[in-house]
Assembly symmetry: C2
Homo-oligomer: 203 residues x 2
């Protein structure tokens, strides 16, 4: 396949994803079929099946895309110079955007269990790699003395839980924008890690 055709294919798959996200949101996941997605994407069912073999493959594509974005964000943060607090803040903020932005948001909160078993392995592997990378960032910040010493695995899970939970309560017509939520939440989560400055000795 030529590069141009591949790019065109990918762009079309993203368009379909956007359409699918709208239908999932409107009808719920279980009530949505390929027929409804095709209609929303303005494609014939046959044409839709050319891009995706079924609803499961659309869900898989969506979860994989989210995880690829998250892995890229944490990789960048680990390689960046500067304070660990700021780097971790960027990762958590990117994660909130992934959860709530229009495209992935509709399915990012769905657990891997919605996929048939044969499709889960790759998603689980990427998810674990992401968690490990965030934990690595937390542990390094502790080693450098920037973060208070505590259990990096537990704190990482606490942060990821708080961020993943946003998909449960976020409403697009709510008072705060996604960017505002990402800012406040990531700031709060990192503040719990940062070591309080030592009280100065009174002379």
């Amino acid at each position: 396949m030529s590069e141009r055709v591949q790019r065109k294919n990918e762009a079309r798959r993203l368009e379909i994803l956007r359409a699918a996200a709208r239908v999932f949101r409107r009808l719920g996941l279980s009530a949505t079929g390929m027929r409804e997605i095709a209609e929303e994407a303005d494609l014939s069912p046959g044409n839709l099946y050319y891009y995706f073999s079924g609803k499961d493959e659309i869900l898989l594509f969506c979860q994989e895309r989210t995880l690829v974005r998250l892995l890229a964000a944490v990789k960048e943060a680990r390689a960046a110079p500067g304070a660990y607090a700021e780097r971790l803040r960027c990762v958590m903020s990117a994660h909130v955007h992934c959860m709530l932005d229009e495209l992935e948001g509709a399915t990012a909160h769905l657990e891997v269990e919605v996929l048939p078993e044969a499709m889960r392995a790759g998603v689980i592997e990427k998810r674990d790699a992401y968690e490990r990378a965030v934990r690595g960032l937390v542990a390094e910040g502790m080693k450098r003395g920037e973060f208070a010493r505590t259990d990096p695995a537990l704190v990482t899970r606490a942060m990821l839980g708080a961020v993943n939970w946003t998909a449960r309560w976020y409403r697009p017509d709510g008072a705060q924008s996604v960017a505002e939520i990402a800012d406040s939440l990531s700031e709060y989560l990192v503040r719990g890690l940062v070591r309080a400055p030592r009280p100065r000795a009174v002379k």
Copy 2:
């Protein structure tokens, strides 16, 4: 019904709940029927139906119990004297125990959606009351200057998300006990709220 009979009834319902929790854990929620619960509780199916009209009523009883415990914990914390940080820490710790302790843990992570619609209203009402009460505690701590000023609703949701998420990753055979997880997690979550002490003026 005499008080003695009521007490006996309640104790029997708790025994059934414990048995149901074990089966849910072993077989999964959807594969568990009243027959399996009766067997595990060593009751005839007819006898089981005397205590619960069906699996849904067992789930409802379980969710209600959890919420009653959580509401009691936050009520106590709001009435207690002393630092807001410590009071909030107690609530979060109680919440972790509710999520992970043997009895309620098996179903506390299940969302209200597992209940038939007619049963949801009471659970949703209690859940909202609990969230409001935690938010109130956070907002009071901010007003008193003990917590940094930020959005109390957002921080409350972040804390509840982190705590609710424990049910997803906790394994009874893991390295940490429920009490250790409750301690570390509640400490981390409250630390993100506490105002850093003002740097002393250098004279």
